[in-house]
Symmetry: C2
Subunit: 340 residues, 2 copies
Amino acid sequence: MKVVHTPLHALHDGGMELHRGELVPCFEMPSRVDHILGALTRDGHAIQAPRDHDDAILERVHDPAYLAFLRGAWAEWRAEGREGFMLAGAFPARGLRRDIVPTGLHARLGYYSFDAGSPIVAGTWQAARAAAHCALTAADLVAAGERSAYALCRPPGHHAGRSTMGGYCFLNNAALAAQRLRDAGFARVAILDVDYHHGNGTQEIFWERGDVPFASIHGDPNTEYPFYLGHADERGAGAGEGCNHNFPLPRGTTWPEYEATLARALEALAAHAPDALVVSLGVDVFEGDPISQFKLAAGDFRPLGARTAALGLPTVLVQEGGYAVAEIGENVASVLATFA
Amino acid sequence: MKVVHTPLHALHDGGMELHRGELVPCFEMPSRVDHILGALTRDGHAIQAPRDHDDAILERVHDPAYLAFLRGAWAEWRAEGREGFMLAGAFPARGLRRDIVPTGLHARLGYYSFDAGSPIVAGTWQAARAAAHCALTAADLVAAGERSAYALCRPPGHHAGRSTMGGYCFLNNAALAAQRLRDAGFARVAILDVDYHHGNGTQEIFWERGDVPFASIHGDPNTEYPFYLGHADERGAGAGEGCNHNFPLPRGTTWPEYEATLARALEALAAHAPDALVVSLGVDVFEGDPISQFKLAAGDFRPLGARTAALGLPTVLVQEGGYAVAEIGENVASVLATFA
């Protein structure tokens, strides 16, 4: 399978996240990519660099004002004489207004965020932009006739909404890939999100659209991040009514229940008769993941991939989470092997 | 003036706040009380302990489920084997649902919070409850005939909404005092909030009520905390339509402009013909405050108090912010002197 990768991801490094009352180095770290790249190279996948895309294409999915904020945030931070990393500390949550974009830097940082776990550092914009280009390039490859392609995106993307960052995500790579496939002529592009955490950003972006049905299998948001989206009663609205399919599962879920749920998710997507597929490929459903609570074994990733590949659709796989760094390469490689 | 104080406030100590990408000790610290108490003792004010009130009275202003959360949060945290302090990290902000109270501890912590700056420690509930009792006791004193009384509340309260904590605040002491005065027979209780930061919690609690008109003079939320409330166009709703008066002012505001604005705020409140007054007394409008940006001099607090006292209403003064610790006692004492 063609693999799209750029070392620019490593520019996003050095930030910390607020985790259970402590600032800790982000679980989402550059070495994740090294392990994936190692396993995919060993397996003989063809690695290629992303094609550069004009920033205007990002506006197909994201709010221009949000993009402008991301692009300039670090320079504003430095202009205030600050160093380290940017981390939002106050948010337009319950009881507060969401209808005014405030002018101050810290106010805007919180306005565009929903957690204190997604640090912006000097290279974040460049890395996020490069990750988006990986996803767009993989979509271009599939649009050009490849049966499948894999975008080794970092930072990940599925938590990023039209104008929100969070969960280590800034630009929604999977949403950009899906939109790219739509723009290339595919009539209906399904998105399957198998990351442990609900793909709240992707859901939000396509909530009112019927042309990009979305299904997500994830930890129950009652206890699992992102907490405030991902319930089964979220079905879409307007033209997207009935096109959103959430499958929250309890902590400790193992392969038999996961497999049955995956079958339901794939069936739900197939019912929309898609002609292309995007997979938000988080491998944090793995039992060894340090911040996730499903119990899939390494050997379960191959059938997970095989069931998905059996849809028989042109497919773009986009890397999302997975924080068991030593095993992440094998787990991703297992999925990709089933598409080859 | 009668001053209500309890040393129990000191149980709320040891937490840190996320401030500009760093965890730092809270600017809101126990020694603030020592300085205030020193100045007020010197000035001959009579210090008394709060009367204990049943927790049910807190439900006059706060959501019972929120109170249950605050009451049990630390025990839940410890039951997970955690130490240190609790600090929310993810929030139901833009793009996310606010209509479901999640079951998990960390999910609930974020659900009930709007910032990563209000740590819960072992003694937080006991201290917040004691601060509320100070405010209630001061209200009882005024209801019993005192012309004025001062509640030395810590933690402060005006950022706490019906079911939200933030800005160092857990229980809304000023709102509880106002409600107590209403329940004691005062027909219309005005609240004047002179803290540098908008009293978003108080505004929210009385937003749809005509019996507790609210006026706040504060830093422009475009750049100043709490960022997402406090604009001049917020006028109240329903029975409270026209009863909410916000006066955001720019950074660097000095006494002449402040005084003119205070006159407008007092005039707006007087138009509602209140028969009692609660003052949310933050003294972080002081030029030496480390996290605020107005430039009132120490000598401006006496006229600030005198203008307010000139309303001629039975008045409960409730301590809110003020982080120039060495000067906080003098500044509070200057205001209280004008009510004596």
